[in-house]
């Protein structure tokens, strides 16, 4: 996946927090931004030790019990009715989820 050779600094600025909040779609208040930047820096500092904990030769583990090739057959399984699918929707119109106008283009 994405890679950057040097070890990152274990501190995080207010601007960085604002950028991350933007990526995560959270409208953090100024007070939260002030509060979070130093707090996250402390957490990052405390977890910095793992940089040296494992060398390049150690393979990653994503699941403790390694399974492969788990598939299902291409057979229809009963799903939800439209009513059930829409049951939690904040707004519905013409059997569709009604959402506010979309600004960005699709990917």
């Amino acid at each position: 996946m994405a890679c950057m050779p040097e070890t990152p600094e274990h501190s995080i600025s207010r601007e960085e927090v604002a950028h991350l909040a933007d990526l995560a779609r959270i409208d953090l208040s100024d007070a939260e931004l002030d509060h979070l930047a130093p707090q996250l820096s402390v957490i990052l500092e405390s977890i910095a030790s793992i940089q040296e904990a494992a060398g390049a030769d150690v393979p990653p583990t994503s699941h403790a019990l390694p399974l492969t090739n788990v598939y299902r057959d291409d057979v229809v399984r009963p799903g939800l009715t439209a009513e059930e699918a829409l049951s939690g929707a904040p707004e519905v119109e013409r059997q569709r989820f009604k959402v506010p106008r979309i600004l960005g283009d699709e990917q």
Binding site: H63, L65, R101
Partner: protein, 508 residues
């Protein structure tokens, strides 16, 4: 003895013998909830009507001599992180307030298929992020041993409900200790099964590669009975294990004779000592001594990578969680907050997402989403998430080496007894330390149990001992757990919970 004081195994036996009915048992527990839950606040939602309806159906099956299983008719509570068709599921978050899932989690479907009436949904830290249940958007749960103290977390609601005799059984989920640590601080039993042993389908994911649902009970045998109901392969969960479980109930019954001859018990050097409360260590050492006397061979094992487990966990968890929680965006379900832009224009979907997520998530959730977004973001992946996955390999290897020398590993479950509500809520790092001893098992997928091991001398609050076994050897935690439980019960002349203060009259 009144119904709510009896264990699930005792209730099941009474039902089988026709001495009582599920409606009577269920009503007794609903009455108890009405009496004490105002003070304990273990439940976010109580479904009296549904539970009694299911209890009546169970009684008809018993009358027809066709019960669905041993626990048919024994009521249960479910942590609010599991989807329940027709019952609100909030995960302790405002963002899901009022959401009623149109489907059942596999665990819930199995409870229903086995005939267990569901009393309601239990309180938890928001999206299971926390170790105290103080991060619930709907207010904290109180420890039945001392209502000013936390019941552990994130599954404090399930543990407190069991400890307060509001339910004989509960389901919890454990990502870094959320079943075992609440068990320890409330004097109850909690089991985290082998990863993949219990289906995660319908469990609202915190950290997918760590989450596991399991039993929350007052006895080891009850936990085994419940584990056998909810466990086993599920084709809807790709990470579910296909191998059949060894008989856990048999293991618990076998262990109850207290004989540990030939069992090799490894004491993990890194899970003790500095940072652990004196009373916690004292009770732990007593338990080890007791097991030695019962024939166990005790060895010390070292798992050097465990010192990095907490850091590893706090990278993997926020990373996975930040992605899991992206779906809460006000479009399809849950909270929608619509801002009114100053220029009078109609708000966009993007605006609504930002404002809703700001309003709907609590501080700890936001903290972890930002941390996880950071750990995954371009340029940092290798240094953080990638590196954490490597350390995980070392943790797995350490367990492998340790289990060559010991059949089970033991440690205190949590470093301290229950602290006061509010004491650590603004100090995330101090809060994270509660899971020091429980996290390694999640990182490596091995099963673990917490069994009450007494009260700490300094505060008179419950302490738990953790027993870990190799992956797929869940039967070992039941056998050794049941043995320790009965050795301690002989010493105390009863269960630890018998020493808990009466809650009667503490109700709303």
């Amino acid at each position: 003895m009144s119904a709510e004081r009896r264990t699930a195994a005792e209730l099941a036996a009474a039902l089988a013998a026709g001495e009582t009915t599920s409606v009577e048992i269920t009503q007794a527990h609903l009455d108890r909830i009405a009496e004490v839950d105002g003070a304990v606040h273990a439940f976010l939602h109580v479904d009296a009507e549904g539970a009694l309806r299911d209890a009546a159906a169970s009684d008809r099956r018993r009358a027809d001599d066709s019960p669905l299983g041993v626990l048919d008719g024994v009521p249960i509570a479910v942590k609010d992180v599991l989807a329940t068709r027709g019952l609100p599921t909030t995960c302790g978050s405002r963002i899901l307030e009022g959401w009623v899932p149109p489907y059942d989690a596999t665990v819930v479907a199995r409870l229903r298929a086995a005939g267990l009436p569901i009393l309601g949904k239990t309180n938890m830290d928001e999206f299971a992020m926390g170790s105290s249940t103080e991060h619930s958007a709907f207010g904290p749960t109180h420890n039945p041993w001392d209502l000013t103290r936390i019941p552990g977390g994130s599954g404090g609601g399930s543990a407190a409900a069991v400890a307060a005799y509001e339910t004989p059984l509960a389901v919890g989920t454990d990502t870094g200790g959320s079943i075992r640590q609440p068990g320890a601080v409330t004097g109850t039993v909690g089991v985290k099964p082998t990863y993949g042993g219990v289906s995660r389908y319908g469990l609202v994911a915190l950290a997918n590669s760590l989450d596991q649902a399991g039993p929350v009970t007052r006895t080891v045998l009850d936990a085994a009975l419940l584990h056998e109901v909810v466990g086993g392969h599920d084709p809807l969960d790709s990470t579910s294990i296909e191998q059949a479980l060894p008989s856990l109930v048999d293991a618990a019954r076998q262990g109850a004779d207290g004989d540990l001859a030939g069992v090799r018990i490894g004491v993990v050097k890194e899970l003790g000592g500095e940072g652990y409360q004196a009373g916690v260590l004292a009770r732990f050492e007593e338990s080890v001594e007791l097991m030695t006397k019962a024939g166990a061979e005790v060895v010390e094992v070292s798992c050097p990578s465990f010192v990095h487990a907490l850091a590893t966990y706090y990278l993997i968890l926020p990373a996975e969680a930040s992605s899991n929680l992206a779906r809460f965006d006000a479009m399809r379900y849950g909270l929608r907050v619509t801002p009114q832009p100053a220029d009078g224009s109609a708000p966009s979907a993007e605006d609504v997402m930002r404002v809703t997520r700001e309003a709907g998530f609590g501080d700890e959730v936001k903290r972890r989403i930002i941390l996880g977004t950071y750990a995954l973001s371009s340029g940092y992946y290798d240094a953080y998430y990638g590196q954490a996955q490597k350390v995980r390999t070392l943790v797995v290897r350490d367990f492998g080496a340790a289990f060559e020398r010991a059949d089970v590993l033991v440690s205190p479950t949590a470093p301290t007894t229950a602290f006061r509500i509010g004491e650590k809520v603004d100090d995330p790092l101090a809060m994270y330390l509660n899971d020091l001893a429980t996290i390694p098992a999640n990182l490596s997928g091995v099963p673990g149990i917490s069994v009450p091991s007494g009260l700490a001398d300094e505060d008179g609050l419950p302490v738990g001992v953790q027993i870990l076994a190799p992956a797929l050897a869940d039967d070992r935690v039941y056998r050794v757990g049941a043995a320790l439980e009965s050795l301690l019960a002989q010493q105390w002349g009863g269960r630890l919970l018998d020493q808990a203060p009466e809650l009667t009259g503490a109700g709303a």
